[in-house]
Symmetry: C2
Subunit: 322 residues, 2 copies
């Protein structure tokens, strides 16, 4: 199943969500801002989070407008966090495209990120659902904790698996969880359906970030749109690095890199150590386990095309190459 056919049951809604994202970029007193936002919205990738929101609403009859507003809020929050993330990392490229910070400067990136954060908050308020609004505000907090802990924990050779799992929950799975849960809640689905979609979002989000972290050690710079091993180069140990250290506790290549992070030779050695170990396949196995849990979480749901799409999305996440 291709991404396009996965999105088949929600194509019209998704088109309206994209249109309202573009409106935010054009309906402004600042011609300058519309240019910046136009760039951002063109490079945001595959709209996976709003798709989860929209699909999760399709297990109960509902009015599509409120769910589309929520899907827009979810994507806006994702975009805002990417912009600040890239600013803090001083990334110049994301998905092969120049970042806001590299094109317009870091000040613009900080303020435009704030603006989109604010826009996401006003959108979620327009749903009028206090439970969803509260969950969304917790998600903003968790995203922020994830970013902060990445910074605080970086360059520590003792970064644990527990820290890693908490970090990827905060920075990625939290918003996936909210996407699934809020879609269900806003559709008026019964609580067991909402809990199932919440668990789906959580497990898919963890798997998605694990695959992202594995891909950071795979392929070439051209394929992944940034240097191979860029997390490690920033002092961040993701699953493949943590697994490699578990397999080879006496290996010192990562220590050497963290002591002297600007030396490309150290980075290359650490990347090769990880690539040539079982850490890569072990990590894939762990991501696959979370994918299986995501599919299991859908058990309580009625069988329909949206459930098929959610299942296909899991396949897509584990199979994706960039």
């Amino acid at each position: 199943m291709q991404a396009t056919s996965i999105y088949e049951p929600i194509q019209q809604s998704l088109t309206r969500v994209e249109a309202s994202l573009k409106t935010l970029g054009s309906d402004l007193q600042f011609p300058f801002l519309s240019e910046v936002l136009g760039h951002v919205f063109d490079t945001t990738g595959k709209a996976m989070r709003p798709a989860i929101t929209l699909l999760s609403a399709n297990f109960h009859p509902h009015e599509s407008r409120i769910v589309e507003i929520m899907a827009t809020a979810v994507e806006l929050l994702h975009i805002a966090s990417l912009i600040h993330d890239d600013t803090v990392d001083e990334s110049s490229v994301r998905r092969g495209q120049a970042t806001v910070g590299s094109l317009w400067g870091r000040n613009v990136a900080v303020l435009v990120g704030d603006y989109i954060f604010a826009a996401s908050a006003t959108h979620v308020c327009d749903t009028g659902n206090v439970r969803v609004i509260r969950r969304f505000s917790e998600t903003i907090m968790e995203l922020s904790r994830g970013e902060l802990s990445e910074m605080v924990e970086s360059y520590g050779r003792d970064q644990t698996r527990e820290q890693y799992l908490r970090r990827i929950y905060n920075k990625t799975a939290s918003l996936f969880t909210t996407a699934g849960e809020s879609g269900a809640i806003l559709s008026g689905a019964p609580e067991d359906v909402a809990q199932g979609l919440k668990a789906y979002g959580y497990n898919l989000g963890i798997a998605f970030q694990m695959v992202d972290d594995i891909l950071d050690f795979e392929g070439t710079q051209e394929e992944i749109g940034k240097p191979v091993g860029s997390d490690l180069a920033h002092g961040i140990m993701t699953l493949p690095a943590i697994r490699a250290v578990e397999l080879y506790p006496d290996d010192k290549t990562i220590d050497a890199l963290f002591r002297d992070p600007d030396d490309p030779v150290h980075l290359q050695r650490a990347v090769e150590m990880i690539q040539n170990s079982a850490a890569m396949s072990d990590s894939y196995g762990e991501a696959r386990d979370f994918c299986a849990k995501a599919v299991d979480a859908l058990d309580a749901l009625p069988r329909n095309v949206s459930r098929e799409s959610l299942e296909a999305l899991v396949e897509y996440v584990i199979a994706r190459r960039r």
Copy 2:
């Protein structure tokens, strides 16, 4: 009336608000963050916005806890916007104290600002009041628009009075408005009281920012905690500069400064031109007009000690020297 006696009717609530701000700084998985937040909370000044929230609730019997949560949210939003503001301006000093960015670096400032933004949003959600939550999210948006427009409009010699008024509404008066209105709403006060306190907050906020902008051209660097004319040095025309240009349309000192903003001689000439004109006293006159409107807005309210405090706060704003 001194600030301490102004705050007399709300002293206990204000102490609890300060305590919950400090809790956010200590109750964290990151020892590092608590140090940063501890610094921020020590330098946030006079807690005027939470005081307005708390005083505005005192025209109707109410449960203090919800209003205190709101007052905390209001102050958190103010702090978050200051942190990003200082980061974008690359300010090293605020109120004579080093800024977060200058002490810990800009990345920390971006992420800690995001964290406090998020904390303000979760606090406002804890009020459970959708009208207040929605108004708060609009305020976040307005703050962000204010910052963006300051950047977009800077170094333009044709900055208008209309742009200025819209900018200071967004960056300052919006949150003052929300402070007054939300305190009244959460206390359960009738709509005319809420509208009165909303108008009070609006007019006081405009006056407050005008006085701030006047003070930027007064006194010495030691008194105001930053260089004299720092807004103008950043290409931003505030009320005294706009008024001076209205009085002397043929004067070219500001044009010269904006063409060559790094030359301190140009800055000094522009500052002296403004200081020596009637622009300063005219600007004070305008601020005083807004103060009078703020007091008028309280007409519909019952007379009590909180109304006296709100009136005294207006006097304090127009009389303050830093």
